[in-house]
Symmetry: C2
Subunit: 272 residues, 2 copies
Amino acid sequence: METIKPSQNSPIGIFDSGLGGLTVLKSLEKILPNESFLYFGDTAHVPYGTKSAETVIRYSQHIMDFFQKHETKAVVIACNTASAVAYQQLQQIYKIPLFDVVTPSVEYSINITKSKNVGVVGTFSTIQSNAYTKMFKKLGSGCFVKEVPCPLFVPIIEEGWADTAIAKNIAETYLKEFQDCNIDTLILGCTHYPIMANTIQDVLSKHIELIYSGKTVGIKLKEYLKNQNCENSSNTSQSVKYYVTDFPQKFDELGSRFLGRQLNNVTHIPIV
Amino acid sequence: METIKPSQNSPIGIFDSGLGGLTVLKSLEKILPNESFLYFGDTAHVPYGTKSAETVIRYSQHIMDFFQKHETKAVVIACNTASAVAYQQLQQIYKIPLFDVVTPSVEYSINITKSKNVGVVGTFSTIQSNAYTKMFKKLGSGCFVKEVPCPLFVPIIEEGWADTAIAKNIAETYLKEFQDCNIDTLILGCTHYPIMANTIQDVLSKHIELIYSGKTVGIKLKEYLKNQNCENSSNTSQSVKYYVTDFPQKFDELGSRFLGRQLNNVTHIPIV
């Protein structure tokens, strides 16, 4: 990855098709308490998971142009669909250090799995892309990987029903696909899914460990910044600015559910 | 409504944020067997139901420009969100005779309800707009109107689970809101919902009549074309052309589920 040398005190960019990536931001804030962030939610085009790869790449380029203009020192693609279909192309086009959410979770899972059987849940398009299976193969893990699409998890989370009997029923229907696979590790391959982690864990055997992409990409980003001597050295407190392309329904409600607090400093960027 | 005089043999335009409007097309084909249609699905921006009114109006204008260029003799907004938030503005801008899906269903319901208590189900944004309640009031119906958002109906239909126990469970959860309202008429205020009509009817008292917007707008459009002496008089057989702004996941599967047959003559219009 040919990248530009980032400036220590510049912010870190995070983007997602919508607000789901706020779960990643929440993890990054904890792991990197001295860093500041720009969060970009492409809410006018949400969801990416139902769009073609070509369209997702086009939208992602507009966001990367925005981050380039704002001189972010690194960018996290906090969206599994964009990570799966746009990461490689964006790496070739932009010189900003770029982190996807697929690779770190795969690396982390390879390190902890004992059964060498790993499960992945995600949206239809993420699973259809086979991005996780390909990455496990690329890293020569020798793991058996079972990927299962769970398209109803996002809408049920957005409805606020993540901890209901209906959510459990839906989770049972999807997750029974794993029952004969002897997995000990399950990657939550969608940034919405941490909100539903209790229900998912409830349906699975207790010994199966859930992998959160916010945590795994955070660990990787921290290492990178340290190695590059690029950690924020100023004494200013952590700040976050939010940019969205639309103010959708339930914006405040959803945002605070994902982030665990109210969103402030939100700027509307109508056309990207 | 100041409109241009349509040409008899021109096609009728139909648009939706995605493929749900195909259920309206299906009804129109039956009611108007001599007419030809252009169907426009704005699949790069689907769903409209989670976008702001401003954004939905902008997208709808692009589609109306397309229909204007193609000289359609009338346009049906086969999308409840666009009908609710963009219809009036589009009427002021364009001279093409324009039909929404809210007004005809309200007029039809006023004619058939005996209890004068009418229910409406739709997406969050359609219900939030209060478009149905406002139209019942505007027409001086004297009806009591109860509107209930059912945000999970669309994703459960798109998952192909419309006739499952989970769908019934979700429908029971939403529709119990109507149990003390003595409604005898329920407007399906979303073009997806006809696919789930059996489950919805199963949960409700048998005497409650479901209202399909494809049927009600079809009857109104037929009357209009007759009054204007604008029915297609040529002997050519009915034709349909489809235009979409993206080829999303499950495109063929969804399209054929909504339409009851395969989609042919599909043209991709990348940027609208």
